[in-house]
Symmetry: C2
Subunit: 206 residues, 2 copies
């Protein structure tokens, strides 16, 4: 593609480095920005800049935060006896948006993957165990919910952490895997359907 201006070319190259944005979309966005008031591009540009340079990570749960401790960890309304363990930050957002969970979180920052050279030491496992051993405000953690991906790496990580947690006498659970709400039985893959039968919920036992 030929560009009439080096400035446009630079902007298109930078914008098209974003995931899911190709050269054509980047050009469309650049030309859109050209038509906007200077204040619009200024605030876009500065918010992107600040996002990366000023962001902090919560010292307790490793979620993104504006302060040293995030709003979930410091909230008095959350149930401090439950910790939900997730792989990445977007997972926290996803669970928060369900409004079904009122406990705390812990972001591992990945899963154990020998192929990619990620061992337990690269993850925030040690800080999770410390959190449970020495609860900051004295309230003992009773349950850790594993919300890790259902990949081999996720399962390995879950197995590793479950063993560590059981030594500390904490109850460990995992989120249910099964057919999505509204999903059709006949179109569900066999692994999911198989799991949903194996991990069926027995109402009479409740």
């Amino acid at each position: 593609m030929n560009f009439p201006s080096k400035l446009i070319e630079d902007a298109v190259n930078e914008i098209s480095r974003l995931p899911g944005i190709g050269k054509k979309t980047a050009l469309r966005l650049a030309l859109h920005l050209l038509k906007q008031k200077e204040s619009v591009t200024e605030s876009l540009s500065s918010s992107i800049m600040k996002l990366r340079s000023e962001i902090k990570y919560c010292e307790i749960c490793h979620n993104v935060s504006d302060a040293l401790e995030c709003s979930i960890c410091t909230s008095q309304r959350r149930d401090r006896r439950i910790i939900c363990l997730v792989e990445e930050i977007p997972d926290v957002l996803a669970i928060e948006n369900t409004s079904q969970y009122n406990g705390l979180y812990h972001v591992l920052g990945g899963v154990i993957s020998p192929i990619q050279g990620i061992g337990p030491d690269e993850l925030k496992i040690e800080s999770l165990l410390k959190r449970i051993e020495n609860p900051k405000d004295g309230e003992k953690v009773q349950e850790v919910i594993l919300a890790l991906p259902t990949t081999m790496e996720g399962d390995t990580t879950a197995f590793f952490i479950t063993r560590k947690l059981k030594e500390l006498g904490v109850s460990v659970s995992t989120i249910a895997r099964g057919i999505p709400v509204g999903g059709e039985l006949e179109y569900t893959d066999e692994v999911t359907l198989g799991r949903s039968i194996l991990t069926r919920i027995n109402y009479s036992a409740e």
Copy 2:
């Protein structure tokens, strides 16, 4: 949507103001940027900033440019006897990418639209006429190709400009409208198909 950080919320709000990008995509982009090195977000942010603040418009053809006169207008390799008239800057890029045109351009900056309050004076019509009356380097403009949109506004503008140009003794042509290359006759809309018959090319006359 709840955001764990004001910085993320700001960035998502700003990014989602771009056309075709919703809140979900904006969040995905913001979280992607968080994972990148600071230099990546810095260069993205500064290229967006520079794009708007440092861009210039060519004094002759009103296309975007790095200097006061754009690279097309100053090029010695272009045919200075033909001017292609387009509505907006992306149209120049689109025609340039065909590599089929070697003349100059003129960007109108819109089309006549009484509903939106855009009259001939809001467009760069006067500067086009001046360009033709007083050619900068003495070479007379012989033809103006109209590459305006096929809307009512585009047709009005074309009609208005054609009349003015004929007074100056310039030949006026318009780009062909017809069935796209590879397009199927039976799926083409009637207006396009009708036009392609009315404006058919007579080989025997050549």
